[in-house]
């Protein structure tokens, strides 16, 4: 299982990459990581945090609905979308990952991120 690890201050969150379902996006993410970027909060989809990556990837594994822990790529904005709770559907995303560890971390920091975006570090972790 290969994953993206988010370092948010002294806390972390692991996202399993769905390499079979979204191979090009996952390969593209591997290329641009590690990365320091700005974590923000979605404005109209309720419990979702987001960060931008510096490349466009093609649309793949597009879904119409998501669940807590799902991770999407919003192709129109080169944005990784992490759904950490109750979602009000806003736009279609490509399903590219699943939070395996740290969903509670995201839930706990989300109000502060909504108040003020912050920098995070994102790394690629190859796991056996």
């Amino acid at each position: 299982m290969n994953c993206m690890r988010l370092r948010i201050g002294d806390q972390s969150c692991d996202i399993e990459l769905l390499e079979e379902a979204a191979p090009e996006t996952c390969a593209g993410l591997k290329e641009v990581l590690p990365l320091k970027t700005i974590l923000g909060h979605a404005k109209f989809a309720n419990e979702e945090v987001i960060f931008m990556v510096p490349r466009l990837f093609k649309r793949e594994n597009i879904v119409n609905s998501v669940s807590p822990g799902d991770v999407g790529y919003y192709p129109d904005r080169q944005t990784i979308c992490i759904f950490y709770g109750e979602i009000v559907p806003f736009a279609q995303v490509g399903l590219v990952g699943r939070v395996r560890y740290g969903l509670d971390v995201l839930r706990s920091i989300a109000p502060a991120v909504w108040a003020a975006p912050r920098f995070i570090d994102v790394a690629y972790e190859a796991q056996p």
Binding site: K36, M52, R55, L56, D76, Q78, A115, F119
Partner: protein
């Protein structure tokens, strides 16, 4: 990688973790009668929609509906106008990058070259947007006032 792509990518790297020049000055800019926040909202959506429109033009590259020369011209002209708006908000360096890209877009020799330039420009503009967006107090703005619709007095 072409020189234009390298230049655009380098411009994005320069603002990836450091705010673009002019971002703080945007707040202090005197544009009466509006105060600080309206300028940031306008600048925010100028950048947001430029990236959004360019993304749609990129999607049209090679679909055969518009020929490459027309797409290149539309993309170049759209970027040129958006650059002017960024200058209005004091984001001169960003505007310079968009103007450079506008020239490159207008002169793109193939749909593939056009698509590559658009891809890099979209990322650059979206990063500018992320920075402007992060200065806006969205959480506090939630319920600032009722909807007001002007009515014709009878």
């Amino acid at each position: 990688m072409s020189q234009a792509i390298k230049q655009l990518r380098s411009a994005t790297e320069a603002i990836w973790t450091r705010p673009p020049a002019g971002l703080e000055a945007l707040s202090a800019m005197h544009r009466p009668p509006s105060g600080d926040l309206p300028k940031r909202l306008y600048a925010n959506f100028d950048a947001y929609w430029l990236a959004g429109i360019l993304y749609q033009l990129r999607e049209m590259c090679g679909d055969g509906v518009l020929d490459g020369a027309t797409l290149a011209r539309v993309a170049g002209r759209t970027s040129e106008i958006a650059a002017r708006r960024l200058r209005t908000w004091g984001l001169d360096e960003a505007a310079g990058t968009v103007e450079f890209a506008a020239d490159e877009l207008a002169g793109a020799k193939s749909p593939g070259a056009l698509k590559d330039i658009l891809s890099e420009l979209i990322v650059f503009i979206d990063r500018i947007h992320v920075w402007i967006d992060s200065t806006i107090p969205w959480a506090e703005m939630g319920d600032m006032g009722p909807v007001r619709i002007p009515r014709i007095e009878q």
